[in-house]
Symmetry: D2
Subunit: 315 residues, 4 copies
């Protein structure tokens, strides 16, 4: 391995890098557009910007609005996927693929041509399959998901945002279209409304960058939560979730992100992003202005600058 | 970085791993189907299997038919892309995208919906763009490509296989369809037949696994040929080519390969595969039996076993 | 106009032709497959076959199971379209196209590529638009539709089949997917469930061939019900509905039907078909065995033989 | 049959109607856009407008530029289809469908999804199949086509326009893409270039409205040329060609044209249109300004006004 540009030997080292990256990425604040399809997202100021990094070695640093909760939205897909993999093992992949979609994130076209088998679990249709597994496999699936997020982040205050969940449901006709199509193709076990209720709630989970950086620790650390030492997933599963993020995590910008940044990441429409330097650290950024592909404009910039700073693209 | 399972401190260490991987992967020999669309490919025995690995540290090992030349076919796309990036820089990306295609490798559907802009340079349509740049940018583009391959592999005996080139041309109606469609959309500078002539020749280049493992060295070594110390591409470009291979290199199996293997790779219809462990080593495998996605059945297995053995998935 | 082969000067003349056509078409009874997605359809014997013809001159003839009610299913789309045209006039065509779909009848692909504007009002998605107009435009839309069917057929016993309506709703996930997609694209005024309730009821309307042949009279007679003399639609609208049936009425078999038969027609999954010889007569056939395009196997045959017998393809 | 509004009992009657229709349609002259992809089309003044009508009874009338030759372009597809049907009979339909395309006229998308079987013989891909049959089935296919056009129009001066043919070839990359794709799918007997040479020539045939109205006579007259009494096609074949024009003749405007006009027609990019009132008459119009669907703006208007005037929509 070539030496990193910025060897990190303490939280102070890390904080210095994070502060520098934050300052440079903040120059783009105001770019992009805040999602407006629900009021709770629309009223978030575009200038919000938080960042947090947690290394496998136990170093931690954060900057800006890193302690402000936001709706994690599609970032939740990664964690619910992990729960579904735990419940179903390899059989999960009979119901959902592992290939990039090559289409915008909620395309029904792909779903129809491929007979109701979503391309991967990180687009909406595929996430419905994972949520369906959790819905069918747990007595109180919403509580199961919430408990897992609290455990991973080490923060029992994490909760659903009921306003977001209600708004998602009220405007969620496209998700209802997808779920009904899956049901029509025999690829949904739960009742459509039951699965959607869980799905809209998982999207509404409110977390901070600090929470998210900690919650992603097991993905950076080969399956073991570096904070608690608890194994959350096998090493193989952790690597595989990272591989899925790298090839499918950013909708129609996955190739461009790999090209420019080069680490596994997952974004949400609220402007949150969770990224992993496998073997090293987890990173969370949040800024609500979205680029044309639906990813946080400043978040992508921050990750690009950070990865260049530490010299740790996986490629 | 976590310690690798098999630390490699000599060519002997490496040879032992390669021998072991070879033996295990060889159990699947006979699986898959040899491409039959041209006689020169159809008559290659399915039992052929070669493997070679070259580390950045200068260690080298090979096994089986590693010294037998085969038509590298689509593996050539990576090298011609590098030449096109050298000629055109960032402006290349106005003519071709960087996203996974989400469709079989020679789809006209995507091309039509996206107005003649191929999704990425590692599918046929996108490779036509790269070849077009080289065709327009060099006086003798076929010789330019050949010279580059000879230099990278350190083997002046590398040459086109004229029978393969002629057969590709005679049966290449689908490539002619794509190239004419690009021309109709104003995204081809050269005459259709000129570009196709170069393209069919680059596909016909005959190399061995040993050649290929050496030729890929600069991608494993941040742009510098580890054998000669010559810089072939900037570090950034080398990383970016690796990112493109990781997200677009294996047609409709890119996600599955990332999931199971987890390193950048490019395959060809002749059964050759070139893979890179960034920062560490380059690997070439060849076995002509293809799986349903068009990748070498035994080649994919060998890479999976090898990556597990050295513990070096990028994820 | 060339002389018809069988000039019809009385109901007896017509009955003779109908009997002959019926006997010849009945040889194919048993071919095709009865729809099985709901029990009420699945249990209809495939040997059922009815036919009725009503001319503008007042002649009438029928054969076989012409007095047995069946669920008219998609045939209802024609009548609800007429009601929507009456309510909205030309503005209806801002929300739905008039072109053949070129895809199977409930395709979401077309809908997604064309931003939620269905191709025509005789595929499911387009029929949702027409039903939405009626749902939004009448206080009791189900009763409005039922009243119109009773008036047109001159039969107050016509009613919904509650078992069919309930089964359609219970299994109607694909229609729910379409309706939610329309809503997500801002092309549905009513609540999704309200529109679907009307839609599933209109599909469940139980009528006989005799009813249907009479109900279609205004389409054969330039907009005036030949039985009552009441104008149901303008001549222009009647012609236009016929044109829509001719180009869009038989899903993916519209071209083949025009080629082989050559008159406007609309089919339903229950095996019913309604056809019009413009200026002359209306025809209804029913036989539940469906061909691969979802049209009544024997029904299509009967119409082909009948049109040949009277020499009155529109082409 | 209801009485027509304008009973036509002489060429004078007909001329009066044609003059009136011409005057009203001419108000829209200047609307639309002349095709510019080849110089020979681009330089035709948008104000050109001709019209001719030939009835089965032998009446004839024309107006405006009815004696000026223009390139018939896609109108030729109808005649070459007739020649292919004559050569191949029903087996032709194994290679090309009879359904509307539901996509713009030269779509490769449909072709790819349907494995190289064009949707119908009146879109470019399907016309290639018909031309391929004629190319394979006649010693001098270009002369065969020319001879047929001369015979049908009764005008030996009809000829190819060599400038148009050459320009079509030079710019015909999209047609070359389609033809190569058909060849790649095993659905082309001739060499690609041979078929394309015939195709580009048939498109270049220069005829007048007077020629075209006469040439279409057999389609209006159940297969018999009303001018000569010679049977050109069986009644069934003539009806079937009309049915294909009605469902597939106007690209993505076939439904709208049926809705507004309601007779079988075929258009060409040169602004020519040929239409048939089955059993009654053939009509040719020409005006080079094209609407957004690629049909003559004034031509469509003239046909709509004419059909309303004679009260003879087929619906």
């Amino acid at each position: 391995m070539p030496p990193t540009e910025h060897p990190i030997h303490s939280s102070e080292d890390l904080q210095q890098i994070v502060d520098d990256v934050y300052a440079r990425a903040a120059r783009d604040l105001g770019k992009g557009k805040v999602a407006t399809y629900i009021p709770a997202l629309a009223r978030v100021p575009i200038e919000r910007f938080g960042m947090a990094v947690a290394t496998n070695d136990g170093y931690f640093a954060s900057a800006g609005d890193a302690a402000t909760p936001f709706a994690i939205q599609s970032v939740s897909k990664v964690f619910v996927l992990m729960l579904a993999m735990r419940l179903r093992g390899a059989s999960l992949w009979n119901r959902v693929g592992r290939e990039p979609s090559g289409n915008p994130f909620n395309s029904l076209v792909q779903l129809e041509y491929e007979k109701g088998i979503p391309r991967n679990p990180l687009i909406n249709a595929g996430a419905h399959i994972a949520t369906d597994c959790v819905t069918a496999g747990h007595a109180d699936p919403k509580q199961t998901i919430l408990d897992e997020m609290r455990r991973l982040a080490g923060n029992d205050a994490i909760d659903f945002d009921p306003e977001v969940a209600a708004s998602e449901r009220a405007t969620g006709h496209r998700n209802a279209a997808i779920a009904n199509f899956l049901k029509a193709n025999g690829n949904l076990e739960s009742a459509v409304d039951d699965m959607l209720d869980v799905y809209f709630h998982q999207c509404s989970i409110a977390m901070t960058c600090e929470d998210l950086a900690r919650a992603a620790g097991f993905l950076a650390n080969r399956g073991v939560d570096p904070r608690t030492g608890v194994r959350i997933a096998t090493e193989r599963k952790a690597r595989r979730i990272n591989a899925l993020m790298a090839t499918c995590g950013l909708y129609d910008a996955v190739g461009s992100f790999a090209f420019h940044v080069g680490i596994p990441a997952k974004s949400g429409v609220g402007g949150g992003m969770m990224a992993v330097v496998p073997g090293d650290m987890a990173i969370a950024v949040w800024s609500p202005g979205l680029d044309r592909q639906g990813n946080s404009y400043v978040g992508v910039r921050a990750l690009e600058i950070f990865v260049n700073a530490i010299g740790r693209s996986v490629f």
